[in-house]
Amino acid sequence: MSTAMLPPPPTLPGGSVATAAGGPERRVAETGVWIAIGTISMSFAALTSALVVRQSSGADWQHLHLPALLYVNTLVLLFSSVTLELSRRRLGSFGLHATLILGILFLVGQGLAWRQLAAQNLHLATGPSSAFFYVFTVLHALHVLGGLGGLGLVERRLAAGGLSRTTFKAAALYWHFMAVLWLYLLTLLTIRG
């Protein structure tokens, strides 16, 4: 399936011409996502240091065994990044649809993992390790949900024929960051959880 790109930007009044890369209105999307990545990383860094401090302050840290389902979810999320990249490079919408479905699947999988833990009586308030587990994974899931919303917007624009390369790139950047962030959290919770 092909899609139409926006026509080249009009000349600016006064005779100047916008740059070929797509003009400022789309480049800001990418800048915006980088800024968002920075700030989200800082939030998770703060929570990481809270975990480290909490671990050393109380003698009640019980190591949490991560449900195996999480590794399946990880593969789903990574695969969704692959399909997104494929879609982006060829501007095909099949990959994009696959990403959306895989993204939803990831969230469902996370929900199931939470249910599994709850069934083992590991709730938010059970202990510090479970508390941090839920805080990290729920916050990540909320950001993934936001990312899905962004991808949904991209999908609508692609179908309507008005999607620019830079917007797609910005959305993809955010989505890949969700995967990178998840890998970091998985490592953190495995090693220090």
């Binding site: 600016l12 009044p13 006064g14 100047s16 916008a18 740059t19 003009g23 400022p24 209105e25 480049r27 800001v28 800048t31 915006g32 800024i35 968002a36 920075g38 700030t39 989200i40 800082m42 939030s43 998770f44 703060a46 929570l47 240091s49 809270a50 401090v53 909490r54 302050s57 109380g58 003698a59 009640d60 840290w61 938010l124 308030a125 202990g127 510090p128 508390a131 805080v135 916050l139």
Partner: protein
Amino acid sequence: MTHGVATSHAPPQGFLRRHVFSVDHKVIGRQYLDLALVAVVTGMVLSWIMRFHLGWPETPVPGLGKLAPTGAAGGIITPEYYLALMTMHGTIMVFFVLTTAPFAGFGNFFLPLHVGAEDMAFPRINMTSFWVTLVAFLVLISAFFVGDGPPLSGWTAYAPLSAVGKDAGPGQGVGQTLWAVSIGIFCVAQLLGSLNFIATTLDLRTRGMSLARLPFATWAWFITSVIGLIAFAVLMPACILLILDRVAGTSFFIPAGLVISDRLQPHAGGSPLLWQHLFWFFGHPEVYIAILPGFGIVSQILPVFARKPLLGPRVLIVCLIAIAFLSYTVWGHHMFLSGMNPVSATLFSVPTLVITIPATIICLLWIGTLYGARLRFTAAALFALGFVSVFVSGGISGFFLAQPSTDIYLHGTYFVVAHFHFVMGVAAMFGIFAGTYFWFPKMFGRMMNETLGKWHFWLTFIGVYCVFMPMHYLGLAGNVRRYSAFTDDYLQPLIPLHRFITIAALFTGAVQLIFLYNLIRSRLRGPVAPANPWEATSLEWSTSSPPPPDNFGGRPPVVTHGPNEFGGTGPRDYVMQAEPQ
């Protein structure tokens, strides 16, 4: 080189789209300023009630008994109500005045103009950030109207007092939760705002507007938004963890074995110091967020009324960046006596003292700019000059608090209250006043009344010194802060000084009515303002007053000069940034 066109929007139709749910950064900036105005009046009234009570605890506050039948039955304030007023005063002032007016307010209005853009990079996100801020404000204010009233743990909300729930005291139930939710929402709004400021500054500068040619206020807003991006990103998870401790039974901040109101608390293993670290990691950069825009505004205004260039513009920028960077290394100076490892006290003290150096350089640059000047005294100029004086006063008291050895004595006393009020409550406010008098003509197309402005300045300048300078003396005498009454023996001789401060505070508060009157009257009947009444150089002055909806009438300016071209010879002693070659 990218150009200043963000989106070509057709002018919006309808009252709601034009004035309420507008994506125009100028409308949004004014909305932020209006919110800050409501907030500052609220916060100031709270402080009057507090000061009145401290001076005359037995005297009923007129009318308060009706408004607050529980907290102030018969007009006499209970100890818990005093602390609740104090908590709300601090929270409202720091977040909804000092982080809102100089940064979100003036910044939103003028940053796109300064860079030569039509609007911010993300206009709809910009609109969202205002409304989210408003929601945060309303959530906070609602704490006044819930069961037990507002929280009493201060704007710093130390755990476990803030974390255990209603056992800890009145206001510590729903009130404290509303506080945490409000601040969490505020963080989101700030992050969205910072996003816009940074992206606009980086990507939407018009042709010829290199970073080096940015006006000083813009540099300050840009650096401030970077600080905010990191600081608010830490406060938000901290608020989430606090809310979880309060409602979900977690123990991030609450240790085991606490007995409150004769009840053993069902928590274990948490660390109260963790809250302090997270809070102050945000809290110290926050105070630089509060003051840096003021630095920018003063640096922008002084050359205009000195009719000569700012001394050392590049040095100024380097110092602003240095301050921003260092602001992340000093947070432990709020915690010297907190029970954290004493070795870290010295480690935090060094950068705290070092940050004095760029701040001193900046003050000297301002003073040096006055050398050889041809000073013009408008209300804006007076507030900018007054800023220098009050910031010096406030900054110097920091010397005592930055050293752990002297902080042993002065921590928790009115010396601290004097320090932060001078730098935040006075200097930052002077920055807001200076910005208002300077930019009002551009924002509303009318001139403010200069005579009223000057009276406002003189009475406020003298008034604030009368209010806050004596607080240093109280602190040296050991007067503890956050006390709702002075019942200790050693405090009795200090009560006359407290009464002096109260009278000065009420007087200075009343003086602000001159400002309010001037604002309203000038909006309605002020003389029409020309495009460039102050003969200034930055891009906002090359468009009409007020600017058209797309800022430059569809013709993005081409920048040929920096913002600092003052002091030439000949009939016109300045060169505007978009001056044709």
